[in-house]
């Protein structure tokens, strides 16, 4: 039997693990930019804000087998904020689900890869997403399927914070608590921005931890760019038996690309050679500074 990714990982110290994941996250951020360069433009802000979460999931937490993408016992991941396809696809490539060169076709005619992931075309993608407010219901269905099938897999769902304005999210929030589905773990990428402006300038959900607790979830709030906190929350979930877990991850939209950080206008942006050069310089600079610290 081939090794199960993350489950059969060689032993390492916590410091080694964090160093590995942080450097992997930097690489993934670089791949976001080069992938979007091939596409010409794309969702920079919301891909960067969840890059640490995606890295922790795919390189530490999720149990899966890239040689068998449909392995029935794998953990499921639903990218409910489907517009962050530009971070999911590079992560899947780096895990070995498909050759990373394929990402050069992103958004091009008949490419498997586009702004929003298609599960029928992308090996390793567990669900097609794009329209917001769908993923939590799907993840809940997956988590309940594990119960029906007496399997041990978990379902992870990553939502954006703007997405919480969709009423359907709260239908699923209610049902997940009712059915006591503790193998459902949701994460909110709380980057505070939508496509038009800051979420504070729109009717939007706030007091998130209180809201989800009131809906019957077990909630932990973390810094979504502190790899230690991200990994701990994802590995320690479920936080309580018999309750779905919610991780509210405070993040910065565009994180890692200084000129794109905390700006609505980098939600979707043209990515040309100049943008890529400046992004990669910033990301590599930050990475070498971190390495020196270590």
């Amino acid at each position: 039997m081939p090794p199960i990714l993350n489950q059969d990982r060689p032993k390492e110290s916590r410091a080694e693990m964090l160093a590995r994941l942080e450097s992997q996250a930097s690489l993934i951020r670089q791949r976001i930019m080069t992938t979007l360069q091939a596409a010409g433009s794309g969702h920079v802000g919301g891909s960067m804000s969840c890059a640490d979460i995606i890295t922790a999931l795919y390189f530490q937490v999720l149990r899966m087998d890239p040689s068998d993408p449909r392995w029935p016992d794998r953990d499921r991941f639903v990218l409910s904020k489907g517009h962050a396809s530009a971070v999911l696809c590079p992560a899947l490539a780096e895990c070995g689900f498909f050759p990373r060169e394929l990402l050069d076709t992103f958004n091009q005619l008949d490419s498997p890869f586009s702004m929003h992931p298609d599960m029928l075309k992308i090996p390793g993608a567990d669900m097609s997403t794009g329209s917001l407010g769908h993923g939590l219901a799907i993840g809940l269905g997956m988590a309940m399927a594990a119960r029906v099938q007496k399997r041990l897999f978990r379902a992870f769902v990553l939502m954006g914070d703007g997405e919480l304005s969709e009423g359907s999210v709260w239908e699923s929030a209610m049902a997940a608590a009712f059915f006591k589905v503790d193998n459902l773990i949701a994460i909110i990428d709380r980057n505070q921005f939508g496509s038009d402006c800051a979420l504070s300038d729109l009717p939007s959900a706030n007091a998130l931890a209180e809201k989800w607790r009131a809906f019957g979830w077990s909630v932990r709030e973390i810094d979504g760019h502190d790899m230690g906190q991200v990994v701990d929350a994802l590995t320690e979930a479920p936080f309580e038996t018999g309750r779905p877990s919610m991780i509210v991850a405070n993040t910065v939209k565009g994180k890692g690309v200084p000129f794109a950080e905390a700006r609505f206008d980098w939600h979707y942006h043209v990515v040309d050679q100049d943008v890529v050069d400046r992004s990669l310089a910033a990301l590599r600079g930050a990475e070498s500074a971190k390495e020196e610290q270590r």
Binding site: G141, A145, A146, A175, F178
Partner: protein, 324 residues
């Protein structure tokens, strides 16, 4: 062949009735015994959709998720993606529009085997008003790629087709009614998805009907036979994929096609048939259905009669069409 029924002898007060949704519930219960992948989901609609007993008998596989149709379909898609065969059951009017994005994106785009049992369809909840009528579902659902749309003619057809729906790959919209429907089939026959049932061979015109209109098409054909007309009748229980061959054959043999459905005349069975004929065999047509209106209030059979959706109205339309 169906029972010997005639428009001359038909009495809605005494004609045998059996409920399509009850027949669905019986079939689902049998399916659950033989296939552990079968799961039932309802949205505070388990009693209506006849999955209440399923939930009692299989609490590990039967769920009532509350009044939340979007969550209903999303959950079913998640379950289907893990290898289960979920039947998501609720009111057709709410599913056809409120949950349509989940049906389109989460079930059809993904080709997942979510089976949607849409009950109280058409104007079967006559006295509830148009919020509770589903008269656009066939048009909406059949315009979505990868969807299959099935409209059984009576309880027996529903029972048989539920098994076919379960084994059919991909998502299916299975349309059922509410109050017990008039019986059409007494011969125990089986049905294939995508294969029309030719009930009468015709010469002067063919009525292509679905759902409750199949009975009325038969009654109308019998009535018109007394007047010397030979009218064909086809039960087109699958709106998509449409049995194009059956449509073209009827058009060639009878030269006139009348469609009959409990649905807006725009985009449903009539539209599907017209798309085939217009491109492959232009044939004069009449379409029976609700004439682009919201139905009035009233007992269902009274409404059906008011809008020409019973055998009298069907016969009138066909007679005028043939006699000119």
């Amino acid at each position: 062949m169906s029972m010997q029924i005639s428009g001359l002898a038909f009495d809605p007060a005494t004609h045998p009735r059996r409920s399509t949704r009850v027949a669905f519930g019986e079939a689902l219960m049998e399916l659950a015994e033989r296939d552990l992948r079968i799961v039932a989901l309802a949205a505070d609609s388990a009693r209506l959709c006849c999955t209440w007993d399923f939930n009692e008998k299989h609490p590990d596989r039967g769920f009532n998720i509350g009044i939340a149709e979007q969550n209903l379909i999303g959950m079913a898609a998640g379950m289907a993606s893990c290898g289960l065969i979920p039947f998501a059951c609720s009111y057709a009017p709410f599913l056809q529009s409120r949950a349509i994005e989940q049906i389109r994106n989460d079930c059809a785009y993904t080709k997942l085997p979510v089976k949607i049992m849409a009950t109280a369809a058409g104007i079967q909840m006559g006295t509830a008003g148009s919020t509770h009528h589903a008269t656009e579902d066939l048009a909406i659902l059949r315009s979505i790629a990868n969807m299959t749309v099935v409209v059984p003619a009576d309880a027996h057809a529903t029972y048989k087709l539920t098994f076919k729906v379960a084994e059919w790959p991909g998502p299916v919209w299975l349309r059922t009614g509410r109050d017990p429907e008039f019986v059409v089939y007494t011969d125990g026959r089986d049905f294939e998805i995508g294969k029309a049932v030719v009930l009468r061979e015709g010469r002067d015109a063919t009525i292509i009907a679905c759902g409750n209109l199949v009975l009325h098409a038969l009654l109308a054909a019998d009535l018109l036979a007394q007047e010397g007309l030979r009218i064909g009748v086809i039960d087109m229980h699958t709106i998509k994929p449409l049995d194009r061959e059956a449509v073209l054959k009827a058009a060639r043999e009878t030269g006139r096609i009348v469609t009959a459905e409990e649905h807006n005349v725009i985009g449903g069975l009539g539209g599907a048939v017209a798309e085939v004929l217009a491109q492959e065999q232009p044939t004069p047509m009449r379409m029976i259905g609700l004439n682009d209106i919201f139905a009035s209030i009233g007992p269902t059979y009274d409404l059906m009669k008011k809008y020409g959706l019973t055998y009298e109205g069907v016969a009138d339309t066909v007679r005028k069409f043939v006699r000119g």
